[in-house]
Point group: C2
Amino acid sequence: MNCSLARALNDVGDWWTLLIIRDAFLGAQRFSEFQRSLGLARNTLSDRLERLCAADVMMRAGTPARPLYSLTEKGRALAPALVALQQWGDQFASANLPPVVVTDRCGRPLPRLKVVDQDGAEVDPEGLRFAPGPGADARTHARFQAHARFRPTPAFRS
Amino acid sequence: MNCSLARALNDVGDWWTLLIIRDAFLGAQRFSEFQRSLGLARNTLSDRLERLCAADVMMRAGTPARPLYSLTEKGRALAPALVALQQWGDQFASANLPPVVVTDRCGRPLPRLKVVDQDGAEVDPEGLRFAPGPGADARTHARFQAHARFRPTPAFRS
DNA sequence: CTGTATCCTTAAAGATACTG
DNA sequence: CAGTATCTTTAAGGATACAG
């Protein structure tokens, strides 16, 4: 798919994968830590760790017999996505009574992530738009031109 | 699960669901728009839209015979998570050549989402911590006390 | 401890045809 | 147009036992 979101989901869009990554952020490193923390089957965990290493989201260190799993830079770059999802769950799926909160290293809860524009002004969801990027292929361009991708942008609406 | 992330994933942690939501942000409203845009089976789409409406992420308007699907406030609140994931895919899965970029309503590409603390300072991934929240149950508290959730916080490490 | 190898059961997804 | 109803196929996940 010619789509970054689909590609992202291909790497981490699985039920267990993001939970594994969260545990890695929490400091889990050993196979058994993930396994006991999440309670998933061993073969499933094995498969997920394999995929994550193959996708360069996590890496294996330690000895082959007792590996240590940790996040790569690519994996750590998931922090905003992870925090955003958790905060959304805090607010809407946990009725603002989250079991666990994300904090800075001093233990102060983090404010909600905001989408801001180049001037630092917050962009509300209705203000979001999409446009062909540098990697757009012919099909993508065609789609946007065909019907402005569903919703006309202000420029087209004028 | 006593975990906001798992609850969030329960609502939107599916392969198709986030793509449907993205199309909704793009302005798609009709069953056939989603279907043609994503190319998923009709029964699958039907199921996803059903779940999304049940979870109050999307809502149905228009006539029963020709419904219009749109995001609720809860759904629009997914914008940060969606943008964060897409940007991650842009950078790492599309080699910084994204087919589609997220912009503000003027068409200016958005800067990358950042995790900031209460003072507005950026929090790097290593600085992330987690702590029991107001909705923590006994089991959650026990977990944190048992082993500081894998990694000792600076306070515990001292 | 860290997996791999099977087996088994269930769920998910697509294709297709049909209905209001 | 917007689904529903079947049917079929495949994949995913858990359980268990075993191995290095």
